[in-house]
Structures are given as C-alpha cells and as structure tokens.
C-alpha cells in the first residue's frame, strides 16, 4: 500500500532499463523498503539495472516483456502482479528513432508507432483491469513535451507521444472514482542514452531531476506534470503560434 506522503511498497517498471524509470525506483528505494518488478527484455543492461537497485536496498525481480508482442501483455502483467499488489507502475518504454529516417521507412515508422502508442495502450488497458481488482494503484506514464505541439522536426515521435499522452490522461479520467490515479509526465530534453549525441535544447534536464518531479507528483496525485516546470509556459505559447509562423521558427 502507498502511504499518506506517497511512499509505495512496490513498483513495476514497464521498460525495465528506462533511465528515468530506474531513477524513480532508486529514489523510492532510498526512502523506504521497496519491492521492484522490472519488465523488459533480457539483456546486460537489465542485469545492471537489477544490480543497481539491489545496491540501494530494493528487492528486485524481473519479468520478460516485449512491447511489440501486445498479445502477451496480459500474461506479463499477471506475472508482475503474482507476488502481491503493485502500488506504483511506471510506463517508461519507448523509441526515439532517427527523425528523418523514420518517416521515410515504412517498417520503422510502423514499429515506432506500435512501441510508442499501441503498446502503451495495450499495457494501459491490461493494467487498469488489474488495478481495479486490487482497488488501488498509481500509474505514471512518461510522455513528452514533443506531444503537446507536434513539430516537423520530430513529428513521428511527437505524434506517438501525443497519442499515448491523450490515452493516459483519458484513462486517468475514467479511473478517477476508483482510487486509482494516473500521472502523465511531460519531460523536455532529458540527457540519457536515448538522446546521446543530440544537441541539448534549452531547459534540458536529467533523469534524476525528472524522477524528483515524478515522486512529488505521485504523492500529490497530480494528473499532469511538466518537468522542468517552465515547459508548461513555453509549450502553452508554442501551442498558439499560427502554423505559417511556427514553420519559420528555427527549431
């Protein structure tokens, strides 16, 4: 059970090697004894994540999870829930892709859409069913500022995030009366492996800083959080810029 100040006793990370997801798990584990289930593909990076969380005192197990294999998702979640209630679930998997390549390569475009939109919907629906059964739970969905106004520069990625963002906001509304909360997190540029080699934008942040904001937002059961916070203002300006002008802006 999660407590009054937002300390969970268990956490499921879908996308078990996500740097932001792992930073969230580490923060919680430092506060209180924590049982973590990492859902991801077997890999050296996943083993590293297990070792890393154990080193901060967490009890860690893993379940095999392939985002593209949506038919397997209900069984994956059954396995993740088999050791008891899950207090917080972080939906953290996703692909960035090469922005120019991905819209011109049919197979890659479809894969990106399936990993970033179809799979989050698939786990979201299966997750909601299990959380309703246990009568509680908090979902953290890692979206992106890129979904707020989709830009030409990375519209494939942006469009998938726009879709998953809308789905999780809606899921939160649907679950409102049931003691289950959904927090949609919109980070800006985060310096991680996913963005390695890219030029950081203004307001660039780190996985650890995003994790701090996530933990605070979960405690307050917030529905939507921008991280860092000024993104909310920046994006609400962007959203209203007419297309002919927006197109000419240098990003």
């Amino acid at each position: 059970m999660i407590d009054a100040v937002g300390n969970p006793q268990s956490l499921l990370l879908l996308g078990g090697t996500s740097e932001i997801g792992l930073a969230v798990a580490r923060l919680y584990a430092r506060r209180r004894p924590l049982r973590v289930v990492l859902a991801g593909r077997q890999s050296a990076r996943l083993d590293e994540a297990v070792a890393d969380l154990r080193s901060v005192g967490a009890t860690v197990s893993t379940v095999e999870f392939d985002a593209l294999d949506t038919a397997s998702h209900p069984a994956v979640l059954d396995k993740a829930f088999s050791d008891g209630d899950i207090d917080v679930t972080v939906v953290a998997f996703g692909l960035l892709g090469d922005a120019e390549e991905v819209w011109q390569d049919h197979a890659k475009a479809v894969e990106l859409a399936r990993v970033n939109y179809t799979a989050p919907v698939s786990v979201g629906v299966a997750l909601a069913e299990r959380l309703r059964k246990q009568g509680h739970g908090r979902i953290v969905a890692l979206s992106s500022v890129a979904g707020e106004r989709v830009r030409r520069a990375n519209f494939m990625y942006g469009s998938t995030k726009a879709g998953m963002d809308g789905f999780y906001l809606g899921l939160g509304e649907a679950l409102r009366g049931e003691g289950i909360s959904v927090t949609v997190v919109r980070p800006g540029f985060v310096k991680t492996k996913m963005t390695e080699g890219m030029k950081p934008t203004p307001l660039a942040t780190t996985a650890e800083a995003v994790a701090e904001d996530v933990v605070a937002a979960v405690a307050k059961r917030r529905e939507l959080v921008w991280t860092p916070a000024p993104w909310r203002i920046v994006m609400s300006v962007f959203r209203h810029i007419p297309r002919p002008i927006f197109r000419k802006l240098p990003f």
Binding site: M1, I2, D3, A4, V5, G6, N7, Q9, R31, R32, P33, D85, R132, K133, Q134, G135, H136, G177, E178, G179, I180, A216, A219, K220, R221
Partner: protein, 448 residues
Amino acid sequence: MKPEKLTGWGRTAPTSAQVLHTADVREIAAAVRAAGPRGVIARGLGRSYGDPAQNAGGVVIDMTGLSRIHTVDAEAATVDVDAGVSLDTLMRALLPFGLWLPVLPGTRQVTVGGAIGSDIHGKAHHVEGSFGNHVRSLDLLTADGEVTTLTPDGPDADLFWATVGGMGLTGIVLRATLALNHVETAYFLVDTEQIGNLDDLMARQSVGDESYAESVSWFDAVTTGPHLGRGILTRANHARVEDLPARSRGNPLRFEAPQLLTVPDVFPPGMLNKLTGRIFSELWYRKSPTRAGAVQNITQFLHPLDIVGEWNRGYGPHGFLQYQFAVPFGAEDVIRHTVHRAVETGQVSVLNVLKRFGPGNRAPLSFPMPGWTLCLDFPVRKGVHELCEELDELVLRAGGRHYLAKESRATPSVVERGYPRLDEWRKVRASVDPQGVFASDMSRRLSL
C-alpha cells in the same frame, strides 16, 4: 454493494472497495462469511486520519446503519448501544438523564465501534483512562460469522482486550454496554492559562492536573524566537448547578453544540502556509487570556472544531496528516525537539495538542501510556516525509509509540518497536481469524 472510493479524515491515499450499507446484522454476518481473498473491514464515520477503515479491492461495511440506543440505565449509569451510534447522538440522548460519557475525543463525530477499535482517549485521560476502560461488554462478530459477547474479565478477556485498540482486525463490534458518569450540568468550569513558551507550558502542566477532570494544552508551532511553543493550558471540572449563571440554571443539561457551517470542497493546496498559520496561531493564542473559573459549554471547551463540518477540506486536495505520539515521562526533550524541528523545517502545523496521560490499560495495542502525548498536523507537502522519519526515530528511542488512529505513513517496524506486545495481539487475532478475513489498507501497509 457497490464500489466506492474511500479515504480517511486526512484525505490521503484513496482506495476503492465494495461498500455494504445495511442496518441488518444478518447481512453483515453473511458478508463476513462470503468474504473473498481481500477480506472485510468495518467503517464508522471515517475520522481516523489514515487508512484503517479502507480495504482496497475488498469489502467495507458501513456501520452507521446500526444506530439504535437500546437501553439506558440511569441508576446504574450504563447504556446498551449499537456500534454505529455516534458519540454525538449518544451524548444528546444521555444528557437529559444527567449521564456523561467518561471519554470524549476531540470530536463527537466518531462511532462507538470506532471508539473501541481505536481505544480513543480525551482530555480526561489522566482521570478516566481510555474508552476501553469503560466498556462493560461488547458483541463481536468474528470471522466464522458468529457473534460472541465479550467482557473485560470473562472467559474471552484476551479477545476483548485484543479488540480494544485492535483497529477492527479481530472482528466487527456490533453492540456494546458502556459505563457512564453522572453529571449535574453540561457545562465546565474552566481555568485558562496563557503561557509564553514551551518549557514553562510543560512545567505548568506538570503540576496540578490531579485537581481537574479535564486537562489539555494547545501550543504554537509556527512562531519562532523566544515565544517558540507558547501555549494555552486549559483545565476544567464539570460545573455544578450552583456554578452556573442564573439564566442557565433552569436548563443545566442543555446540549449547546451547533454546527454552523460546512466547508465546501473548493480549497486549493497551500491554503495553510506560513502566513495563514502565523495569523491563526496568533489569534488562537490571543483569544484565550489567563482566566480562572469561566463557565464554558461543550462546544467551547471540548469540541470547538465540531462547529465546522468537513473542516478537513480546508487543507486542500492533497490532504494532510496528523503526527501523534506518546513518550514516557522523563522524555520531555523529545517534545521540545519535535516542536523545534517542526519550526526549523518550516512545516506548518496549527492544531497542536499536548497532554499528560495517566496509566494505560490492558489492551496490547492501546496507545496511551503514562507520559506525554503530542499531536501535530501537517499538510502533505515536500519535507513532511523526512521530518516524520526523523521524529519516528526520536520517539521510538525514547520508548514511545504512535497512535494508530492517526497513523498514515509509518512502516511495520515503527509499529513493532512502539508496541512491544504486538506479537501477543497477533496470536489472539490468529486464533480467532486464522484466514485473515478482517483486513484493511492499514493492516496491509503495516503488516499487522
């Protein structure tokens, strides 16, 4: 039954459960017999701050339907009452007979069942002990669906005392017989002392409690500097008819306890901040100058917060928590340190209570122990977790413990260390409910 979202009074950590509203004991017994893997818990008026009356994914039984006062024996001063009756209703019914509930907490909006389950205490603890001390017998619906009548010294005394303070986890209290006091009036003769700092407040409170039926102090945990912890010590005895002003003598048992307004659920977070906290504390301190022998009614003296309905909404949507602990006499430093740290860390608490407890009772999970109890309330915000963690350690090292009716954020080990008789209680519970039919969010969170 239908699913409902429930929280405690602190409005934190909501969960949903199937809630059964009924006035029929047979339906309650049937629900207990049919309990699924996530179990059943009884709920009264939801005044516990944390999660003991919630049961995520399971069944919650709303006990307020069981609301009959069966018999009042004015001569023997006892009442036989359903568990879902509130202390407010009960007081109104008893006062015309000149009868008074010996233990009243800071609100009358709690049920008899809840009062037993939390073994609540009030300003009269140093004289009367806690609620369980006045229960002559109780009917307990156990996990097998049967009802047993328990008494404090009967063959099932262990189960009786495990139920007192047992947070509803031994079964469901359906009905109880309570011992009462005789009073002449519904008024108090109150001595108020305005005291400029915490050390003086504690020193003053340490002498003379025995000449009063009721004693408590409020203190200021916001104002810094030399006035840190300044407070108001109020102590009182029940007024006799001749103590009353002439106009009240005609109706000395009049119940003066209006609810003037209900707080709407519109407050944003952060309403209680350093500024508003300081203003409130200043006014609260100023409104009570030192004065002896003032006649006050029930609301003025006992339950000022009951004037306002749903006052917890004022803390905004993120909710708040109460941090209440008891430490033995001799551990006054823990009290001082707690107040200092609350002020230093900038956590704003305005409804602060300090009281000296008398002896505890036989219940293994009863909270009161001889010593001091202190209560602070914090809106949930950054830093509260860290402050409470720090205070936990201090309290436990001094041999203290935390009040489960207020608790909403501790760990299993905090409860184990604070309640050395926890295993004794667990054994009784295991013998009467081996499958763990009675379960709550709190029992899961704290591995009770």
